[in-house]
Amino acid sequence: MSEKFSPALRIGDLNDYIAPSQACVVSLKGLKKNNTSTNLDKPEVVISAKPLQTEPVKISLKDCLACSGCITSAETVMLEKQSLDEFLANINKGKAVFVSLSPQSRASFAVHFGLSPLQAFLKLTTFFKSLGVKAVYDTSCSRDLVLAECCYEFISRYNASQSANDNGCKSSLPMISAACPGWICYAEKTLGSFVLPYISPVKSPQQTIGATIKHYISQKMHLKPEEIYHVTVMPCYDKKLEAARDDFTFSVQPQGEPFGNADVRITEVDSVLTSGEVLELMQLKSVDLSSLEDSPLDRLLTNISDEGHLYGVYGGSGGYADTVFRYAAKTLFGREIKGPLDYTIVRNTDFQEVSLEVNGKVVLKFALCYGFRNLQNIVRKIKSGKCDYNFLEVMACPSGCLNGGGQIKPKPGQTAKDLIQSLETAYLENVLIANPFDNPIMKQIYEEWLGRPGSEKAKKYLHTEYHPVVKSITAELHNW
C-alpha cells in the first residue's frame, strides 16, 4: 500500500500471502463484455469467428470503498479521475473549472517557497488561471459553514444527553469530528456500528464547498452543474477516497432532453489534487511560484477581508474542537473565551484536552486526538464506556492535517519535525482569527440558500451519513 495514505488506512492493507489476482474482490466479478452498441453499423452476420473482445476490469476507488478487504494495494488503482492528466484534460474540454484550495495546502506552498500564506494564495491563483481555471476559492470559507453546522449539532446533542434519563441517548456524546476521511474509512471498515453514531453528520469543508459550488454558485453564475469541473487542493490523499463516496453525488435531469435519458450523476468534487501533486504540475510547466505575479482573489467563496487580510479560525486541523468549545461555553454557560484555549497535553502532543469549569465543576471537556495510536486509545475508551469527553477532534495523521500525506515533502536536510513546526507557524501568519458566525459570505449563503444552521435545507446539502462495511466472505477468506 502506498505510504501516501494516512496511517489509519495503511494498517488496513492485508495482502501478505495473497496473489494480486486474489487480493481484490472486484477482479473476481469477472470480465465485462465490450459495449455492443458501437457495433450497430456492422453487418449482422460475421463470418470470421473473432474472439470475444473483453476489456480489462478496472477498479475504482469507489469499489475499494465498498469492500471490506484492503483499501488498495496498487498505485495504479489511484483513480484516473483523480490525476493531473484528468485535470488538464477537463480544462481543455472547455468545462468551467473551479479550484478550491485548502488553507493547509496554502501553508505548504508558503513554507516551500518562503512566502506568506496570502502571497502563496495570490500566486497560486495566477498559476491556476494561467492554465485556464475560472476561479480559485478557499476551503476556509466553506469550513466556516461546517463549523456553524457543527456548533448547532453539538448543542442539540448536548441537550439530548442532558435531558435523557440514564438509559437514553447514550450515543449522542461524545460528538466526533468527521473531516478526516482516513478516520471515517477506518471507522466504517473496522470499528463497525458502535462508533458511527458518535460521528458528526456534518460534511467536511471539501464536500461542503463542493455542494456549495454545484448547487449554489452554479446558479449564481448561470452554469449547469454538469458544466462545472471542480477540483480541490488538499494536504491529504485520503481526501480522494472521500470525494469518490457515493454519498457525495447527486443527479440532475439533463435539460433539453426531457424523455428517455437517464439522470446525469454529478459529483460534488470531481477531482482531488494534493499539495505535492500541484507542485509536480508546476515543475512540469517549469513554473517557479515565487516569481509569478499576484492575481486578485475570487472573493465569492474566499475568506479575505475588505482590507485584504485572510481570516479563519485557530487550529491547523480545522479548529473543530476550538470553535465548538467556544460556542458551547458561550451558548450553554455564558462564558466568552478570548485568545487561544488552554490545552493540556494528555499523553503526547497529539493528544490534548481542554475543559471548562463552572463553579468548580467541569462542565465541558474536549480533546484533540491525532494519529493512529491515540485514535486507538480513544476508541477503546468509547467502547468500554469510559470516555468522558464531550467532543473529540479526531485526525488520522500525527500532528493533524498540516502533516497530511499529500503535503510537499521536506527539503533536503529538513527534518519532518522542522517542517511541521514551520507549517504550524506559517499557517496563521497574518491570518486574522475570526468567529465563523461573523463571516459575511457564510451569512449570505444561509440567507440566500440554506436558511439557518441546522435547517432542513442545511441538513440536505451539508450533512451526510456513514455506513458500516459488512465484511464480505471473500474478505474473510483473505484473513484466513
Binding site: I11, G12, D13, D16, N348, R373, N377, K383, P398
Partner: protein
C-alpha cells in the same frame, strides 16, 4: 565447567497431553520454581485454549487450568509478566488477552484490540510496564500498562513489509526487537523526546542477515548477544557494545558475529538461550538441538588484539558448536523450545504440531 568438554543426554521427563490441536508456544512463569513455589508454565494451541501446567511433586506435571472461551481462534503466543502475576495471550482472532490469577482461577481482565487480523506474538518488557504485540498486518504495537489493568497504545509501528512473526523486549533495557517474514530483524526504541517510538536499526541481508523468514530470537543472559533463527536453515548470533548500550550514550548498533549453518535441514521455528549459555533450537525436522560457544577459539582471538566484534567474525568464523542433537524429539514440527529458569536443573519444555508438550532435562553423562 566447560560445557563442550562434557557429554550430555536429553532425558524425557514427561509428555503432556491435553491440547487437541498443534501446540504453538509456551512460557515458564518467572515467579515460580523457587522459594518453595512449584514451577509452572503456560502453553497455547490451535485448539483456541491456553493450558496452565504445574509441577506437583515427584516427576509429575499436571494441567492446573484450561483458559478457554475467550479466544475464538488459534492462540499463537503466550507470555508472563515479569512478576508472574499476569499472562498475555496473542491470538489469530486479532486480540491479545490479559489474564490474572485470582485465587486459583485465571480471569481475563483485559482485551487489547486494534490489530487488523492475526496477532502472532506478545512480549512483556523487563520492567513490566510495557507490552508489545505484532502480527500479520505487518505492524508492531507498543502498549503501556496503566493501573487497573488498563492498557494504552503508545505506538503503532509500521516498518516491516510482511507478517511480523515475533516481538521480544531486550532483557534489561526498554528496547524492542521484531522479526518478520520480510527476512529482517528490526530494533525499535523510544525517540529522543519520549513522544513516540521509531526503528533504530534493521538487520537484513546486507548486514549478513537472514535470506528467508526470521521466526524467532532470544537474548544471551547478559543481553549483549542475540540469536535469531530462520527459514534459511541457519541460526545467527548478533552482538552489541554492552557498555555503550547501558550508558545511554547514543544507540549501540547490533552486528553479525557468526552464522551457524549446516546443522539444520528444515525451517527453524524456535530458539532459546539458557541462563547458562546453552542455545536450544526447535525445528521442522522434529529435532531439538543444543549449541554452546566454543570459548577456546574466540578467547584466543580476543587475546591477540583488542578487536571489535565485527573483526571477531571476520577472523574467527563460527565460534559456536553443536552440543547435542535430539532426533525425533516429537512426532511433528517443534514449534517452541523454552528453558526454565530453575537454578539446579537444566529443564526444557518443547511444544509441537503433534499436540504434545514434552518436559526434558539436559543431564551430563559421566
Amino acid at each position: 565447567m566447560d560445557l563442550l568438554e562434557g557429554r550430555f543426554e536429553l532425558k524425557e521427563i514427561q509428555t503432556l497431553e491435553g491440547h487437541t490441536d498443534r501446540v504453538w508456544s509456551l512460557a515458564w512463569n518467572p515467579a515460580t520454581g523457587s522459594a518453595g513455589i512449584p514451577p509452572m508454565f503456560a502453553s497455547c494451541s490451535g485448539d483456541k485454549t491456553v493450558r496452565i501446567w504445574q509441577h506437583s511433586g515427584l516427576q509429575s506435571w499436571d494441567c492446573k487450568a484450561v483458559l478457554e472461551e475467550t479466544h475464538t481462534r488459534t492462540v499463537r503466543s503466550c507470555v508472563w509478566s515479569p512478576s508472574g502475576k499476569l499472562l498475555a495471550t496473542a491470538s489469530f482472532d486479532a486480540t491479545t488477552a490479559i489474564w490474572e490469577q485470582i485465587g486459583g482461577d485465571f480471569e481475563c481482565v483485559s482485551t487489547l484490540e486494534g490489530h487488523e487480523n492475526e496477532v502472532k506474538s506478545v512480549s512483556w518488557s523487563a520492567s513490566g510496564s510495557l507490552l508489545a504485540t505484532c502480527g500479520r498486518d505487518k505492524s508492531v504495537w507498543v502498549w503501556e500498562v496503566q493501573p487497573g489493568n488498563e492498557f494504552d497504545c503508545v505506538s503503532v509501528l509500521q516498518g516491516h513489509t510482511q507478517d511480523v512473526k515475533m516481538v521480544q523486549w531486550h532483557p534489561s533495557i526498554d528496547m524492542l526487537f521484531s522479526c518478520s517474514y520480510d527476512n529482517t530483524i528490526k530494533v525499535w526504541a523510544e525517540d529522543g523526546d519520549g513522544d513516540d517510538w521509531q526503528c533504530v536499526q534493521t538487520l537484513g541481508e546486507s548486514n549478513n542477515g537472514h535470506t528467508s523468514t526470521v521466526w524467532a530470537l532470544s537474548f544471551s543472559p547478559s543481553g549483549d548477544k542475540m540469536v535469531t533463527c530462520s527459514d534459511d536453515l541457519t541460526l545467527k548470533i548478533w552482538g552489541t557494545d554492552a557498555q555503550r548500550m547501558h550508558s545511554g550514550d547514543g544507540y549501540a548498533p547490533w552486528t553479525h558475529i557468526c552464522t551457524l549453518s549446516g546443522y539444520h535441514d528444515r525451517t527453524i521455528f524456535s530458539v532459546h538461550w539458557s541462563r547458562e549459555g546453552i542455545i536450544a533450537s526447535g525445528a521442522a525436522d522434529d529435532a531439538i538441538r543444543f549449541f554452546v560457544e566454543d570459548k577456546e577459539s574466540s578467547i584466543a582471538v580476543m587475546d591477540a588484539v583488542m578487536v571489535t566484534i565485527v573483526m571477531v567474525s571476520e577472523v574467527d568464523g563460527p565460534s559456536y558448536k553443536l552440543l547435542l542433537k535430539k532426533e525425533k524429539a516429537h512426532d511433528m514440527d517443534v514449534n517452541s523450545v523454552q528453558w526454565s529458569s530453575l537454578e539446579n536443573k537444566r529443564l526444557l519444555a518443547s511444544a509441537s504440531d503433534d499436540g504434545t508438550i514434552k518436559i526434558w532435562e539436559l543431564v551430563s553423562v559421566p
